[in-house]
């Protein structure tokens, strides 16, 4: 293999700085889960088809399984572990609990990160648009109604910045 030299990659994850020596074939998802022990970000397909691995990179929602860790050198990453502030849940996290927007919980971190990114994008104005723009995040338990209800509540309430 020609690729087995590690690259030093600087990531700021949830406000903490990390310098990782990673091989270029390591996805951001695997770097988070295996190297930083941030297992809140989930692997559901590893092919960008399910959305479970969604994180915020420099404020934008990205699929961490389709992102190599080395590509994000110098970036600020927010994972589900960094969404609550000092034990204080984000309004969307609270709304997810209240609306029972999950069952098994495995797609939940991706739904929440994607939802926060989606709300910031400001493109969704109606319930239908929210559902459409969240359709990259699969939920096999079928919690769609609770998920969209939670997002609509937070969207209408403002307070998600």
């Amino acid at each position: 293999m020609e690729t087995n030299t590690t690259h030093t990659t600087s990531l700021r994850v949830n406000g903490a700085d990390y310098r990782l020596d990673v091989l270029p074939w390591v996805s951001l998802l695997d770097a988070l889960r295996e190297k930083l022990n941030l297992t809140g970000t989930k692997k559901g397909c590893d092919h960008g088809q399910c959305g479970a691995c969604t994180v915020l990179a420099d404020g934008k929602r990205v699929l961490s399984c389709l992102t190599l860790a080395v590509m994000k050198d110098g970036s600020e990453i927010t994972t589900i572990e960094g969404i609550a502030q000092n034990e204080q849940l984000h309004p969307l996290q609270k709304a997810f609990i209240e609306h029972d927007a999950f069952q098994c919980g495995y797609c939940t971190p991706g739904q929440i990160c994607s939802g926060i990114g989606m709300l910031k994008e400001g493109r969704a104005h109606t319930r239908e648009e929210v559902a459409e723009l969240m359709s990259g995040n699969l939920c096999r338990c079928g919690a769609s109604k609770g998920i969209i209800d939670a997002l609509m509540e937070v969207k209408e309430g403002g307070g998600y910045e």
């Binding site: 297992t39 809140g40 559901g44 092919h47 029972d100 797609c107 559902a131 359709s135 699969l138 096999r140």
Partner: protein, 745 residues
């Protein structure tokens, strides 16, 4: 503080915070030290033998620790029986890496273990296999002539064959004034829980293992590992505190468990094996089915004759059976019935129960047949159901422990606005869309398994309960805490339900919508036992005001015992514990269904679904715009989590009717869409207005809690209701699921 009674309150999931903050850990997320990573290699042929294996390219790779194939695998148990898990169908269980024979495409044939995940994955691509291929069959429809009667075994107890014929079907059918007949076919489906199968095996030394496994049964996995690898039961501990969905796929130990344990024992090391998404299509699935139905009625609409003959798929090595064709006679009192069920053995992995196995496939056919019959009779489909409504179970003649199906029909019809339906197909339109209304009935068993629970009252006066069950997202932990809260009279905050661990007292695997009744009833039983102990201890305290009080005059309230006649006179659990100078009070009890009583009754949950679809006139695209499902499942412990179960099931119904299908290439003998991009399940944008009603159903016979389970019933009626709505919209009967737009063009 939560208020009691807790049962009936929409309590939010107690583990909610862990799930929304990412701290909930699943099987493949325990990053123990010195962890090795395994990656499985799968067969690229469908049937035959491995004739040669070349691992030279892998051996040269830095970081590879071991390669396991059938040629070098460590010895495991000799007898097939030792591989048989609690859910094994009759036959010979599949043994990974056992020999050079290939029984299905995607069969696991090697495991590469490396120091990191990426190296293991890369190395897995470098092993070269040579095969000798043999002819195979994988299609059901093209091999119906090979159907055989299912083998019988232990599993037959839970899945009996269809009941024998009643009356004379052929005669009744041929003489009947009104009759319908049709064939229904169903595609293969894969469970695809979003969490992929994973096992993290912690090597504790001296034949001891701690295993974080994705499973629906911790004890099932524990027994499997101990039996196969010759370990003592007590030395194998399986933990599954969080399970990222199961839907039946975790009712049997999956092959990553075998692989990870084998490698861990051999290398004396911590090992994790996680399957990838394509590998999630290489074990159990919902089988293809072909069903032929013939129903007849008299001129007034009384159903007189029902024939339901179904053929399912199984593997070449086990006879997996479903209850597919027995359902119609549990609903409709026809005097002449003929039910049959056979299997075709195919060169595919053994199917495994998938949410409402058999029930959803069988009821799709039955309820579409009923719709056709209603049209033939020029009768409203709901009226036909009500005309043939039976308070007792016609298939056994026994009364139901409870049956609020009529309320389901009426309440859901009212909420849906069924009376606004013009029965003429194609008569209702909205812009360029044809609008259709369809309805169907659902029925599912009300299982209860034996379960054992241990309860501990701590010196702080708090309660801890132990049981081995999992919580696969159903809300089990929350619901069990609620049951215990009401029984002991403590707020939810003071109760811990500790679960997901094979070391804890017995639970069956989590399937069949059975855990709430199974573990719930055991909790009631064990807490009653504890209460007796508490009273006895309280009475024994020197100068106790309860000494001369009869047990039945003592109540449990707000974490204390008190006099029924004067609740002011109370002694808190905490004070009792202090006064008796004990650190804890314990009780353990096994409970199960009251078999003697229940043998005089039939038991079932019921549902009715009403669905509106829009079909685009030009494109044929189908949208489920509205659906209402009413469920009769006894007492609902937690309306919030129960509603989520039913909503999720309804989406599964939409998916089965319109979306999901694993596409088999019969020439290659392999699934062609083994990924989540091409295996379609509904996305958020596919889901519109869904409504759930719980019918008020008091059941004092089924069990002490009056509960029946809600995990599957919400799915059963939806596919037929959608197919019937599509007929109403378009005048086309599409009897093959899933229904795609091209069938309507």
């Amino acid at each position: 503080m939560t208020k009691l009674p807790s049962i009936g309150q929409p309590v939010s999931r107690l583990e909610g915070r862990q799930k929304v903050t990412g701290s909930a850990k699943y099987a493949g997320e325990y990053n123990v030290s010195d962890l090795l990573y395994g990656y499985v290699v799968n067969s690229t042929i469908t049937k035959g033998k491995i004739t040669a294996i070349d691992t030279s390219a892998v051996k040269a790779l830095k970081g590879v620790e071991a390669i396991f194939t059938h040629e070098n695998r460590p010895s495991t148990a000799w007898f097939d029986l030792q591989y048989a898990d609690m859910d094994a169908p009759p036959g010979t269980v599949f043994k990974p890496l056992h020999d050079n024979k290939i029984k299905f495409n995607g069969q696991p044939i090697a495991l590469v273990v490396a120091q990191d995940f990426e190296t293991a994955r890369y190395a897995a691509t470098l092993i070269k296999f040579e095969y000798e291929e043999e002819a195979f069959i994988t299609g059901l429809v093209t091999n119906l002539d090979k159907a055989h009667e299912p083998k019988k075994g232990l599993a037959t107890m839970l899945k009996p064959p269809p009941p024998p014929p009643v009356g004379d079907f052929e005669k009744a059918y041929s003489c009947a004034p009104v009759k319908v007949a049709a064939q229904y076919t169903h595609a293969t489906e894969h469970h695809n829980p979003l969490e992929m199968y994973a096992s993290t095996v912690v090597y504790e030394g001296k034949g001891k293992l701690t295993i974080y496994d994705k499973t629906q049964g911790t004890i099932n996995s524990q027994l499997f590992v101990a039996n196969v690898f010759g370990l003592h039961y007590k030395d194998v501990r399986v933990l599954s505190p969080f399970v990222g969905g199961g839907f039946g796929s975790g009712l049997r130990p999956q092959y990553q468990l075998f692989m990870a344990v084998m490698a861990s024992l051999e290398l004396k090391h911590n090992v994790r094996v996680t399957l990838d998404r394509s590998q999630m299509f290489t074990f159990g699935h919902r089988p293809q089915t072909v069903q032929n139905l013939r129903f007849a009625a008299d001129a007034e609409g009384n159903v007189t004759a029902m024939n339901h003959s179904g053929i399912g798929e199984t593997s070449s090595y086990e006879d997996y059976a479903e209850i597919l064709t027995s359902w119609s006679h549990m609903l409709y009192p026809a005097k002449n019935t003929l039910f049959e069920y056979d299997l075709v053995s195919l060169d595919l992995p053994t199917p495994i129960d998938m949410r409402a196995p058999g029930g959803v496939s069988g009821m799709h056919a039955i309820e579409c047949m009923m719709d056709e019959l209603a049209y033939e009779l020029k009768m409203d489909p709901l009226e036909l159901r009500l005309k043939n409504y039976s308070e007792t179970d016609p298939s056994t003649g026994k009364p139901y422990t409870s049956k609020a199906l009529k309320q389901c029909y009426l309440e859901a019809a009212e909420k849906f606005g069924w009376d606004k339906r013009n029965p003429q197909p194609g008569s209702m339109q909205r812009g360029n869309k044809l609008v259709g209304y369809g309805m169907a009935t659902g029925i599912w068993d009300a299982y209860q398994f034996p379960a054992r629970v241990q309860v501990i009252l701590t010196k702080e006066g708090k309660l801890i309960l132990h049981n081995a069950t999992t919580d696969i997202g159903t809300g089990t932990m929350t619901v069990m805490t609620q049951v215990a809260a009401d029984e002991i009279g403590l707020p939810l905050e003071d109760i811990t339900f500790d679960y997901g661990d094979s070391k804890k007292p017995f639970s069956m695997f989590q399937g069949g919508s059975a855990i709430t009744s199974s573990t719930g009833v055991a909790i009631v039983a064990v807490v009653k036992e504890l209460k007796k102990k508490i009273i006895k201890k309280a009475k024994g305290i020197k100068g106790s005001p309860f000494s001369d009080i009869k047990d039945e005059d003592i109540i449990f309230k707000d974490g204390a015992i008190a006099l029924r006649s004067n609740p002011e006179l109370a002694l808190s659990f905490k004070d009792i514990m202090t006064l008796i100078k004990e650190t804890e009070l314990k009780a353990k009890k096994m409970a199960g269904p009251d078999v003697l009583k229940l043998k005089n009754y039939s038991k079932a949950t019921h549902s009715a679904s009403f669905v509106e679809v829009e079909v685009d006139k030009e494109l044929g695209t189908i949208t489920v715009t509205r659906a209402v499902t009413a469920v009769a499942a006894g007492r609902i412990i937690n309306p919030k989590t129960a509603r989520s179960q039913v909503l999720g099931s309804m989406i599964w119904g939409i998916s089965k009717a319109l979306h999901e299908e694993t596409i088999l290439d019969e020439n290659l003998g392999k699934y062609m869409n083994a990924n989540l991009g091409e295996y379609h399940i509904p996305v958020h944008a596919d889901i519109h207005d869904l409504d759930v009603i719980f019918a008020d159903e008091k059941d004092e016979l089924i069990n002490e809690l009056g509960i029946k389970g809600v995990g599957e019933i919400g799915l059963v009626a939806i596919p037929a209701a959608i197919a019937n709505a599509i007929y109403h919209a378009t005048g086309k009967r599409i009897n093959s699921l899933p229904i795609h737009f091209d069938a309507l063009l």
